[in-house]
């Protein structure tokens, strides 16, 4: 009985939506949203006002039920929704990595057909197919997961120059040590950090995407000399004193203050870290005050001996919002959900994100004249990257990149050799491949 009446109602709704769209176009639609939201980010309050409230103002007939979560709680909730096949209408997503389930189980729609003509406002690279081969989320940005932040002021005080080669960098280590400073800071307690922010770039330089494609296709192995060579070079960073084991006991948030306070002249992190240094609009304070920002530069890791892709860094499209595959095509709900997804990557919103968080727009029609020096530095940083290479956790399956993540910490701590980590990764890959 219940089923029949539901079917009946749905049919009625469908008929209504086909025949009387004009009359009922303004009918109230409610859409649910699972949003990834960091209340602590500078500009969080502005975002609530100018993104979400503004949407309600502009589209009064659409009621948005938003659920804000951040970090682990967000991922737990996503997995729970996915397991129950009860995805909210609009969901925040990564182009791969921890959103893999949503992609590969096709729990969200391909947005490309909905985007249609509007594709011309986005740069070509950000609309590239994602993990499962389609546009599952509309990315907000193109990011580089690697940047070497340099405190130029500190280097000058010590009479040092920005390093151009890895050897230059190594030569600085004793000078810095004598001054009681560390060389490169990283907040690498979480094991994704080294892989995403440093090792992916090393792999891009020494292995290259072509070889990685072969490895991913099963035509080459992680145990081949190129990949092992990348792991060995990474191990050398510790032997040469460029990295210190204590990065693995420094949290991802803790490192910001340490770098701003000048505990080391270098920091490796994603380019998104800029957002943490610029002015917080709610307090007017900045970790690196505007007048000091000129002393900081973003460069890519210096030339590595034997690299095949000079001046390359790992890049990936940013996060964005996807649409549940459960929404019927052509329904009013779909229209409303799409309206929201489009709004979230509109000129207005991307401009706000650029100004408050330094997020580089994925649209080509966004500009702003009120940017802090560090945000301009980030924009300029992209010009340095000649080749964008893979971020490993966006091209490998979870089972395959986890042994790399942990292996990188083990190499740093002297608990495993590069070859052992390569072997373990290959085993994980073989097991994963067998299950596909």
């Amino acid at each position: 009985m219940f089923k029949r009446s539901t079917v009946f109602l749905l049919t009625l709704l469908l008929i209504a939506s086909v025949f009387v769209p004009a009359t009922f176009a303004q009918e109230r639609v409610t859409i649910t949203v699972l949003n990834y939201f960091d209340l602590t980010s500078p500009g969080a309050e502005r975002e609530l006002q100018e993104v979400w409230h503004e949407f309600s103002n502009r589209f009064p007939h659409i009621t948005v039920l938003r659920e804000d979560l951040f970090l682990e709680p967000f991922h737990q909730k996503t997995e729970a929704y996915a397991a129950a096949n009860q995805l909210p209408d609009v969901i925040y997503m990564w182009p791969g990595g921890r959103s893999t389930t949503l992609h590969t189980k096709r729990l969200v729609k391909d947005l490309r057909p909905l985007l249609g003509e509007d594709a011309k406002y986005f740069s070509e690279a950000v609309l590239a197919p994602q993990t499962a081969g389609y546009l599952a989320e509309l990315p907000n940005t193109m990011t580089s997961s690697h940047a070497l932040y340099v405190n130029v002021g500190l280097l000058q005080e010590l009479g040092l120059e920005i390093p151009e080669t890895y050897e230059d960098l190594v030569a600085m280590v004793p000078v810095l040590k004598a001054n009681g400073l560390d060389t490169i800071l990283m907040g690498a307690q979480d094991d994704w950090v080294i892989q995403s922010c440093l090792f992916s770039t090393i792999v891009g330089r020494l292995v290259g995407d072509k070889k990685m494609d072969e490895i991913i296709a099963g035509e080459a192995k992680f145990t081949d000399s190129e990949f092992v060579g990348a792991l060995e070079f990474y191990g050398r960073l510790f032997a040469d004193g460029v990295l210190h084991r204590k990065i693995m006991n420094t949290t991802y948030g803790e490192v910001n203050g340490l770098f701003a306070a000048g505990r080391a002249p270098f920091m490796i992190d994603g380019d998104w870290k800029v957002g943490n240094f610029i002015t917080d609009t709610s307090t007017g304070e900045a970790l690196i005050p505007v007048d000091k920002q000129d002393e900081f530069k973003m460069i890519i890791f210096p030339a590595i001996p034997g690299e095949i892709n000079p001046n390359s860094a790992s890049t990936v499209v940013g996060t964005g919002y996807g649409m549940s595959a459960n929404i019927p095509a052509g329904s009013a709900k779909e229209a409303a959900a799409w309206e929201l997804i489009k709004w979230l990557q509109s000129v207005e919103v991307q401009k706000l994100r650029l100004e408050t968080g330094g997020t580089i727009p994925s649209r080509i029609d966004v500009t702003s004249d009120q940017l802090e020096p560090l945000v301009n530095e980030r924009l300029g940083y992209y010009a340095l990257i000649e080749t964008g290479t893979y971020v490993l956790d966006s091209v490998l399956a979870g089972e395959v990149y986890l042994p790399i993540n942990i292996g990188l910490q083990e190499i740093g701590l002297g608990l495993a050799t590069p070859m052992e980590v390569a072997e373990r990764t290959q085993e994980a890959y073989d097991a994963w491949k067998a299950n596909q």
Binding site: E79, K246, N249, L402, L413, L415
Partner: protein, 301 residues
Amino acid sequence: MKKAAFWTEERRAYLILVFPAVIIYWAVMAFPTIFSFILSLTNYNGGPVFGNPDVKIVGFTHYVRMFNDKYFWISLKNNGLIMAISLFGQIPLGFLFAYVLHRKLIKFGDFFQTIIYLPAVISTIVIGRLWQSFFSPYGPFTEFMRRFNPTWENELFFDPHLAILPVLFVILWMYTGTYLIIFLANLQKIDPALIEAARIDGATEWQVLTKIILPALSGVIVTTAILAISGSLKSFDLLFAMTGGNPARRTSVLALYMYDNAFRGAPKYPLANAISVFMVLLSLILIMVVRITESRFGGRE
């Protein structure tokens, strides 16, 4: 009439008293557990659970996978260490504190009792964050040690054998208060007249402790041991907030290892469920060992 005979007042009372708790508990905990045990035997891997044609029974393969994983053994070892610190650190200390407080052997007993139990009411997340910052290579602990040796580096977390030490230390500090309260409550149930009489007969403090108090508490000691064992096998929150299991998973525990498999990267629910089934079985076995030891060496209640 027959019905009336069957439904004696005793049976009816039993049913009414037990029913609400049983229903709620079975709905909330027992069924999901059975469910997760069944999932541990399948290849379910995300997406809809029911009516999913890809889900097949695969037997004990996930258990085999678990036993072949080196991180499983690292986690298990850490659980073992936590259990050791609970059984041989928290319980004796908790008892010692309860004893000196109860017998009023030190001043400011009330104050100390309050302080020692205080950590147990604070959110584990808060405590984890506090201690993480405290033990950070740039944190107060390092600064403090550098007062004595300016070049001291905080290497505590780097040696795979030592990385768990700060965690054990925090666990000892955090839960000793719970045992203090349990022992104190039960010490107060011992008839003071009994102790008085012994004292008047010239018994020493040591004799009072070993001849009267310890035997009277043997049942409680077993209870605390069971709490300690199940608590240590379940420990999650503190490590989650304090180290996240790192560096290199060397501070992982079974619950964290399970969480990693269920919620990090692509979900591996069957493996995660296999781990939780293993955890339950292990605690059951250990608790049976405690029970057997108790009856063998004859504690009286």
